[in-house]
Amino acid sequence: MTQEAIKSKIKIFKDARDFQIIWLSIFLLYGVWFLDWDNFVGYGVLIGTCLATQLFGGFLLNIPTSSLKSAVITSLSLCLIFSANSLFTYGLCAILAISSKFLLRLNGKHIFNPSLFGIVFCLLFTGDAWVSPGKWGNEYLIVIFFFACALLVLLKVGRIDTSLAFLISLMALEYARTCIYLGDNMDVYLQKFSSGTILLFAFFMITDPMTTPKTTKGRIIWGIIIGALTFYLTTEEQSYIAPVWALTIATPVTILLNTIFKGNQFQWIPSHMNLKTSNK
């Protein structure tokens, strides 16, 4: 009996993506109820198109349907970040995000973070898309909640190193500039990090295990590179979505880091469990 119970417990949430789906949904619901996000049709199009693209691509390439969970995560991330005028742009973004996983591949692994690819492409080429970094407001309680939720996922996925490397390097650089060099007060400094946008990014986008370097060493270097780039783009180029551009620029670096530090490819479901279920 006990064995059965343990087995079934393992089954639920043995996939870290389950946690991600839950947290991202909570964030979206929080936005809808407390921050007056009301673009329901847009969200519907994003989620629907992501799933449809994943099903279609999965069917063509004979990919297991469990990867639908990844599509759900991508679509929720897009709902939280992406804005556009026309529903067509929403659809396009979703299709590009998911199909980038199938089409832009190297060494059997997709190159870009799917949601990042969709967002950046639409920002650059459609002239109809934007990201509103201010839409999360500046509430410290939410930040703490965000932190806690994300921590659970990252401990599960084992990508907390990337997040910490990114956040620590960015916060240190920003502290050196705002508080030491500019002589500004702590309020200004804290407000810069109280936005949900940067935390969503830090905990959910740059930690995607499929597009981050395979080894801890690689990931720490990678996180620091993105943190430094974000700092540079924010302060020097006045970019309001610096982390998005930083991650885009840093994407090729992953490939480089993976050739330097060799490691095993990440799998969402540990392979021994995978074998068990498929043997059934």
Binding site: D36, G183, D184, Q238
Partner: protein, 476 residues
């Protein structure tokens, strides 16, 4: 009932083509708020054109202004513009009250509508005066440029450190509050220059009024410095920003930009006091949104070349080409107008306001609706049904008023009871007819709920179904 409503609206449409969606009866302009400053912010690529309203009321000798700017401005970058531009943009884009008329279902003739145009009472505006300036004396401060622009004497300063600048400003009669020094330092280190203005009384134009100053500069920084102004302010200050861009709405990137509640049905008596209604509404919304949000009050395509409706309904004439050029939007092509209203305090707005231009072209206006009842008698069956509907509607309007502005519905007992009395015994009181004017989006409770349920359902589905697994390498 519906038929009559349609006839009514068509009649309005043919006689007043500009206002097919109701008449504007009152507006809430910037002047109802105390301590309000107004700024026109034009953004084209990396170019910013900032026009600052100047309704300083005291002795011009006491007037002085210090504005941090990203570059050393050239003489050609500075000019004055007529102050009428502000009142034009304000009256065009302010929150509006529109009214509709019901028609008596017991009468067949559609009555001619009479509409009173009302201006709300305006209260005097108080502008914070920056300290005044006496003479030019240098103290670790570099005067980068010095101009005379109409009635203004302008200096552009750069400084190496805040103490020197503070001493210089003090020596020259700018009474910089001690708390401002801590704000000056970050500006100096950020390589910002200081645009310092005083007025020469001898060069003042007719009536002794000062014109708004307009400055333009190229910089990737798209921001409004508000921190210096907060140093000597007690309590909250209001600022109205009129934004003009090529692409679409302007929004704040480091604070939340929130749409003000709109398209709400409010009781007819709001018409007599719309200014205070909006003031209370804004206050409530400001508190509700955590006192750290920027509010969108208006967004519209105002391109002269664009053939669409420029406002709906118009509370002031839409800006024409000349106004837009005056404001600094000198390009040909699309011009999008955004009106933002921010109430800021030192504790909630630690940073200056940073902005971005988005491609968001969706129109928006702060619009409140009153529906005037038909005149009796209501003897026929339709008339009785109309009364029932009206009683329900008026109750909803009172509820809405309490939600929006916090006005107590029990203060106006006759607003509903007066019509309830007219319902004859035996008439079906539960017969609620369709409202003539459909309710606006309101606070959108139902869509929120439906979306939430759908999302939760979908998530549960994905978490619980057994997805078919294969031995093929897993890809995300």
């Amino acid at each position: 009932m519906k038929k009559f409503a349609i006839i009514g609206i068509l009649a309005l449409f043919t006689t007043h083509a500009f206002s097919f969606c109701g008449f504007y009866v009152a507006k809430a302009d910037a002047k109802i708020f105390n301590k309000t400053s107004q700024v026109i912010l034009v953004r084209d690529g990396d170019k910013s054109i900032v026009t600052m309203s100047n309704d300083f009321k005291g002795d011009v000798k006491d007037f002085a202004m210090v504005v941090p700017v990203p570059t050393v401005l050239k003489r050609t970058d500075i000019r004055t513009v007529p102050s009428t531009i502000f009142s034009k943009l304000d009256s065009y884009s302010g929150p509006r009250l529109v009214e509709y008329y019901d028609h008596n279902p017991c009468q067949i003739v559609v009555a001619e509508n009479e509409v009173d145009m009302m201006e709300i009472q305006t209260s005097a505006m108080v502008m914070d005066s920056a300290p005044m300036m006496k003479s030019a004396q240098r103290n670790k401060v570099k005067i980068e440029a010095q101009y005379k622009v109409d009635e203004y004497d302008i200096l552009i300063l750069s400084a190496k450190e805040s103490t020197g600048l503070k001493i210089w400003l003090d020596e020259n009669g700018y009474k910089v509050p001690a708390s401002a020094a801590e704000v000056l330092d970050p500006y100096i280190k950020n390589n910002l220059k200081f645009f310092v203005v005083k007025v020469d009384a001898n060069r003042l134009g007719k009536g002794g009024l000062m014109n708004p100053l307009q400055i333009s500069f190229e910089s990737p920084k798209f921001m409004l410095p508000i921190r210096l102004g907060m140093a000597n302010a007690d309590g909250a200050q209001d600022m109205i920003v009129y934004g003009l861009s090529r692409k679409g709405r302007i929004e704040c990137t480091n604070y939340r930009t929130v749409e003000i509640p709109t398209n709400r049905n409010v009781p007819t008596f709001v018409r007599d006091d719309f200014g205070n209604f909006y003031k209370d509404l804004f206050e409530r919304e400001y508190n509700h949104q955590g006192k750290n949000s920027v509010f969108l009050e208006y967004a519209w395509n105002v391109s002269p070349s664009w053939g669409g409706v420029k406002c709906d309904p118009c509370v002031g004439p839409p800006p024409v080409n000349q106004d837009l050029v005056q404001a600094g939007a000198t390009w040909n092509g699309n011009i999008h107008f955004t009106r933002l209203h921010v109430r800021y305090t030192k504790d909630k707005f630690a940073q200056d306001l940073l902005f971005q231009v988005t491609p968001n072209k969706e129109h928006f206006q702060g619009r409140y609706i009153i529906t005037n009842p038909a005149n009796g008698p209501f003897d026929c069956d339709e008339g009785q049904a109309y009364l029932t509907q009206m009683v329900n509607r008026r109750q909803r309007e009172l509820d809405e008023l309490q939600v929006l502005a916090g006005w107590n519905p029990t203060d106006r007992p006759y607003y509903v009871a007066g019509y309830r009395k007219l319902i004859q015994d035996g008439a079906d009181r539960n017969d609620v007819a369709t409202p003539i004017i459909p309710d606006g989006p309101g606070n959108g409770f139902l869509p929120k709920l439906l979306f939430s349920l759908a999302l939760v359902g979908a998530v549960m589905f994905f978490l619980t179904i057994k997805l078919k697994r294969r031995l093929t390498p897993l890809t995300q």
